[in-house]
Amino acid sequence: MADPMRIRAQAAGDKATVRVLMSHEMESGQRKDSAGKLVPAWFIQEVSASLNGKVVMTAEWGPAVSKNPFMQFVVKGAKAGDKIAVSWKDNKGDSRTDEATVS
């Protein structure tokens, strides 16, 4: 199971800025290892976020997103105490969901 994400959600007015740090290799499939062999592509393809259980954002990523990815987005209608959940799924089918409370 992949390492947990770090999710920080900060409310300002009726919006919350959500910052996420994910732990993932994000191998592009272009890199060669020390033996000269291509390291197979392994990267997050799908990302979604929900506010109090309702999906508010989905995204698709390619292998060019940096390793240990960072993402930021702004949710409308969020206030302190609300729950933000972020999920990702990679091209090998591995996935992860983590939750945070809006502060």
Binding site: D3, P4, L21, S23, N68, F70
Partner: protein, 264 residues
């Protein structure tokens, strides 16, 4: 003598070709880049892991590290990092945060700690723990002690090591780091003989290195500097590394701690 001249001229060719004393547009742009990636530092992932390891019961003694004494008393974390390295009577030597954590893993948890290879085996845990510990001193002024005789000895040794020229290029740390305005390609080299740069360099590690996506603690960074100087690589816990760290810390007294940071 000839070798030194060749080395210096090759070196100056790199540096002097792009040197300018005032901060150039490129340097300003790079500062902006560094500020942009500072928020959302993947080091946070190691910090979370470190906090877990600090609190988790482990080892034959089935104990957590919460009673580890980092110099301010058992379990006192806030401000601990900025007063390390320091002398520890129970260990009989000057230790930095990495060595002290390793010591606590051994004594409190009864573990046999495999820490000799950087970023491998138990050293990974030490790095995560160190990242957690340093975060709790963020913004606090560097205050590396110089009271015990051993602490003073380490400072003297560090100062000596800093200016010690050796290796096939006749480099010392000072070759790159003893003056303002030096640069390698677009990378400005901090003058580590001055308080501000020394303090910032001292508290910049542990850092997340973007170029290899690894979290490097201070000892590993110094090890790599020495490798680039074509010196023999010191082992983990080597007096040479700790001494250089003490020298930088004392020179950087009072500077607010930055760690953990993000570096190229």
């Amino acid at each position: 003598m000839k070798r030194w001249t060749l080395a210096t001229s090759a070196f100056c060719a790199i540096i002097c070709s792009t040197a300018s004393l005032a901060q150039s547009d490129s340097e300003k742009a790079i500062d902006e880049y560094r500020a942009m990636i500072a928020d959302g530092n993947p080091a946070d992932l190691w910090e979370a892991k470190g906090e877990d390891l600090w609190k988790k019961k482990a080892g034959p003694k089935n104990a957590s590290l919460e009673k580890c004494d980092l110099g301010l008393g058992p379990g006192v974390l806030k401000g601990a990092y900025v007063q390390l390295p320091r002398y520890f009577a129970d260990a009989g030597k000057v230790m930095d945060v990495e060595m002290r954590l390793s010591y606590c893993m051994r004594t409190l948890q009864g573990k046999e700690v495999k820490d000799s290879a950087y970023n491998k085996d138990d050293h990974k845990d030490i790095i995560a723990l160190a990242t957690y510990v340093v975060t709790l001193s963020k913004g606090m002024p560097v205050n590396v002690p110089q009271e015990h005789a051993e602490e003073k000895r380490m400072y003297d040794l560090g100062k000596q090591a800093f200016f010690y020229r050796a290796g096939p290029y006749d480099f010392a740390c000072a070759t790159c780091h003893n003056a303002d305005g030096k640069r390698i390609r677009l990378q400005g080299l901090p003058n580590l003989t001055k308080n501000g740069p020394a303090g910032r360099a001292f508290t910049s590690w542990p850092a997340y290195r973007v170029s290899n996506s690894q979290l490097w603690p201070m000892q590993q960074r110094l090890n790599d500097c020495l490798r680039l100087q074509r010196f023999p690589h010191p082992k983990f816990g080597s007096e040479a590394t700790v001494a250089l760290s003490v020298f930088m810390g004392v020179t950087g007294k009072g500077v607010p701690s930055l760690a953990p940071t993000i570096k190229r």
